[in-house]
């Protein structure tokens, strides 16, 4: 394993990287497979140059990798240019694999979107990002024992490093996990030896220390008033899943806000490293459980990039059809959820779910499952679509969906209450949206015409004729309008795809249970309904990914919630959250 990584080919430097190398000299070294390694002491300086001089103003993904055998932690950055589009500039920073002193400078001051992602990498690897304003654990809780994604950290139910486990294959008899482990439960520390009296929970203290109410800070007009700290959730805000907001209020005005997440942290990445490549496909369904097809798409792209496989024509078309149907479904459901938050309890949502059921019927017809489709394969699909599918889809795309979109728009767009509660509310300015790494409709509503389907076309999106929908004000109303516009554009793509759908094979090569993926690193990204969804996969040539990271749109989009909500009313913060359109499965993974 170690030898394979060591002998990896060094990356070919792009002209921009050569420029950087000329300017910063030895601080820049080519990395294995792709990108450059920047020396820690000059990281901020170089990052500044990458953003300002080279124009990579959008830090899409930041994540850690634990190179256990080589003895260092790495942080990988993928930066994009919003104005030019095209591929990423990949750069990396390394720190010795020292259990307690792993440190890398924080880039939060350059790209705001690094804030949550660095916290995540700290949580998972224990890399300290020096200069980070609020470095706390984010997905687990403060006080959790260990850093789970380190290669030498083992979970309570640990069996082996890689699946398939010997105990289950071939034909071994099954022993329940509880019986195999030390404490007969999924815990690494026994309750029996725990001392309650001497235990002080640090999580809440640390959280509140960042958001202390300031005495006498209220706007009491001469009266002595204090601001108060209020907890919302975990749960309510407003049923997007298990999510918690800690808000500092002055009267009803939000002064500061901290999202607390991790209540649905299901260890997607750790399980992903144990799994084989193809075993991960059904797990991606459960990331953003409203849009399982788009998640499949992103993961399939990333691994296909590594395998250098191209799916057949028919597969490409079916993939686009599935992804766009998902977008229609997601955005319709968004309209239902958003109005739910404004007080139209459940009725618009029932309108949205009517269409959703019809689309789910199609998914079920193609994949066998309503929600968790597990439909994509590397270089192909699980199975072909039938003629009946095409007929039903034709009816849906050409007759029903356009009409139902109009109906939804008639209900909401000119509605007096919606306009009063949405226009000018929870504004996210253009510059802030870019810096905070907002993606998808959230970014476009703030006036940035950026869509992965146009900027770096994947699959066959360059063949279709469609427009980017953008807003101007960056408020809740614009976000809603962008999504309604995108439904129409998706229907446009669906119509073209249906007209051009070729016949033929759906799988390149043979179908296989075990996929051979050559060693390398790849970042595959798609424009999921909620924004840019990226998968960063590191392979060492074995049947399992060495590192598997999901650039979760919702997670990074949540970073802009505080900017949106500050200065507004508390009820508007909830609508702001709704307008981001989060799914907790993807936020917490």
């Amino acid at each position: 394993m170690a030898e394979k990584i060591v002998t990896a080919p060094l990356a070919q430097l792009t002209p921009e990287m050569v420029l950087l190398k000329e300017r910063f000299g030895d601080a820049i070294q080519p990395a294995e497979y792709e990108g450059i390694v920047i020396a820690n002491d000059r990281l901020l300086e170089v990052a500044q140059a990458i953003r300002d001089d080279l124009g990579y103003d959008y830090l899409s993904s930041l994540t850690g990798v634990d190179y256990f055998d080589k003895g260092y932690f790495e942080t990988v950055y993928h930066a994009y240019s919003l104005a030019r589009g095209g591929g990423p500039l990949v750069f990396k920073a390394r720190t010795p694999r020292d259990a307690n002193a792993a440190e890398i400078p924080s880039v939060v001051s350059i790209w705001g979107s690094a804030e949550f992602q660095e916290r995540e990498a700290y949580d998972m690897f224990g890399i300290r990002y020096t200069g980070h304003p609020d470095l706390r654990r984010i997905l687990t809780w403060e006080g959790f024992a260990g850093y789970p994604l380190r290669k030498d950290w083992k979970e309570a139910y640990y069996e082996q490093d890689h699946k398939p486990f010997d105990s289950r294959w071939p034909g071994g008899h099954h022993v329940p996990a509880e019986e195999r482990v030390q404490f007969h439960d999924n815990v690494t520390v026994s309750s029996e030896t725990f001392n309650v009296e001497s235990f002080t929970p640090e999580a809440e203290q640390l959280l509140y220390s960042g958001i202390i109410p300031i005495p006498g800070s209220g706007n009491g007009h001469g009266l002595h008033t204090d601001s108060v700290v209020v907890n919302l959730g975990p749960q309510h805000p407003s049923t997007h899943g298990v999510f918690r907001l800690v808000v500092r209020l002055s009267g009803e005005t939000v002064e500061d806000l901290k999202p607390v997440m991790g209540y649905l942290h299901r260890n997607h990445e750790k399980i992903g490293e144990r799994n084989t490549f193809s075993q991960n496909m059904p797990f991606t369904d459960r990331l953003d459980y409203l849009c399982s097809m788009s998640n499949n798409f992103g993961y399939a792209l990333a691994v296909e990039k590594l395998m250098a496989v191209k799916p057949p024509e028919r597969t490409e078309y079916i993939r686009v059809i599935m992804a766009e149907l998902t977008r229609v479904m997601n955005h319709l459901a968004f309209c239902g959820f958003l109005t739910n938050e404004m007080g139209a309890f459940f009725t618009p949502f029932i309108y949205a779910f009517e269409e959703r059921e019809l689309i789910l019927d199609l998914f079920e017809m193609a994949s066998g499952s309503r929600m968790m489709c597990n439909y994509f394969r590397f270089g192909g699909l699980a199975r072909d679509i039938s003629d009946e599918f095409v007929q039903r889809l034709r009816h849906l795309v050409f007759e029903r969906l356009p009409q139902k979109t109009d109906e939804m728009e008639n209900l909401i767009t000119t509605n007096e209450i919606v306009r009063a509660r949405a226009i000018g509310v929870a504004v996210l300015p253009r510059a802030a949206a870019i810096s905070l790494g907002a993606a998808g409709p959230l970014l476009r509503a703030s006036g940035v015409p950026y869509d992965v389907r146009k900027a770096e076309p994947y699959s066959i999106y360059d063949r279709f004729d469609f427009d980017l929908v953008t807003g101007t004000n960056g408020d809740v109303y614009d976000r809603y309008l962008v999504r309604i516009g995108e439904i129409r554009q998706s229907i446009r793509i669906l119509k073209q795809a249906l007209e051009q759908l070729p016949v033929g094979e759906i799988q390149t090569g043979k179908k296989a249970y075990q996929t051979r993926v050559p060693a390398g690193q790849a970042y595959g990204r798609v424009e999921a309904p909620k924004g840019e969804l990226g998968f960063y996969v590191v392979s060492d040539g074995s049947p399992n990914p060495y590192r598997y990271h999901v650039r979760a749109t919702c997670f990074i989009n949540l970073g802009s919630l505080a900017t949106m909500a500050r200065g507004g009313k508390l009820a508007d913060a909830i609508i702001g959250l709704g307008s981001i359109d989060t799914t907790m499965g993807e936020v917490d993974r």
Partner: protein
């Protein structure tokens, strides 16, 4: 007054004592019929299964046919908790607290593989292997996620259970107390306080705390 022995001796031949069971059990079917068609589930979604729960409540599957479309936002008003999704260690204290806040009679449905056993995420380090490790569950629904039909079937199973209960024997009309389930702690891992108590009773000296990180 179900026992003849409590009647004064001189009145024994003049009084007919009807036991509680005889008096109330004929009423039980009516009582249960009313109860089962006015279930108030708590609007409480955890993960993917919550979306299927919403789909069950929406037009096509129409939960209101079973008199339970009224999802209550507060545990104080609810008598059915549908644990719809993966319960993580970070969320477990809140689930237990919500359960404790629900008034009797209360029921719990574990919807989907995760709530039942941990499901596909069982091996995960922050996933609780089934919500029944902490709170009692009445109906388990398999599936990942269960289809709306499966959820409806789960409700029907719960109705069967309710039909089998009797006023005279239902614990919530007796003087029996319902002790709250101790809310687990988030220490270096999820700490089940019931287990801590058990050991405390056995050996009074507490051992040292394991190092956090």
């Amino acid at each position: 007054m179900s026992d003849k022995s409590q009647v004064p001796h001189e009145l024994k031949d003049n009084v007919a004592v009807t036991p509680w069971t005889k008096l109330f059990d004929p009423l039980s079917p009516i009582y249960n019929w009313g109860r089962k068609y006015s279930m108030w589930p708590m609007g409480f979604g955890l993960a993917c299964c919550a979306i299927e729960m919403m789909a069950t409540a929406a037009g096509r599957y129409d939960l209101s046919r079973f008199g339970m479309e009224l999802m209550r936002p507060s545990p104080r008003q609810a008598d059915l908790m549908i644990v719809s999704g993966t319960v993580t260690k970070k969320m477990m204290p809140q689930v237990v607290r919500l359960y404790n806040q629900m008034p009797e009679p209360k029921y719990v449905i574990a919807m989907g593989a995760c709530a039942t056993s941990g499901g596909p995420f069982k091996e995960g380090y922050t996933v609780v292997s089934g919500v029944d490790k902490f709170i009692p569950v009445d109906v388990y629904i398999p599936g990942c996620p269960p289809r709306p039909e499966a959820l409806l079937q789960g409700f029907l199973k719960l109705f069967e259970k309710i039909e089998g209960q009797k006023i005279s024997t239902s614990p919530w009309y007796t003087k029996k107390e319902f002790p709250a389930i101790p809310v687990p702690l988030l220490g270096p891992d999820l700490i089940d306080l019931r287990k801590v108590q058990e050991t405390r009773n056995e050996q009074p000296e507490a051992s040292t705390v394991p190092a956090t990180n």
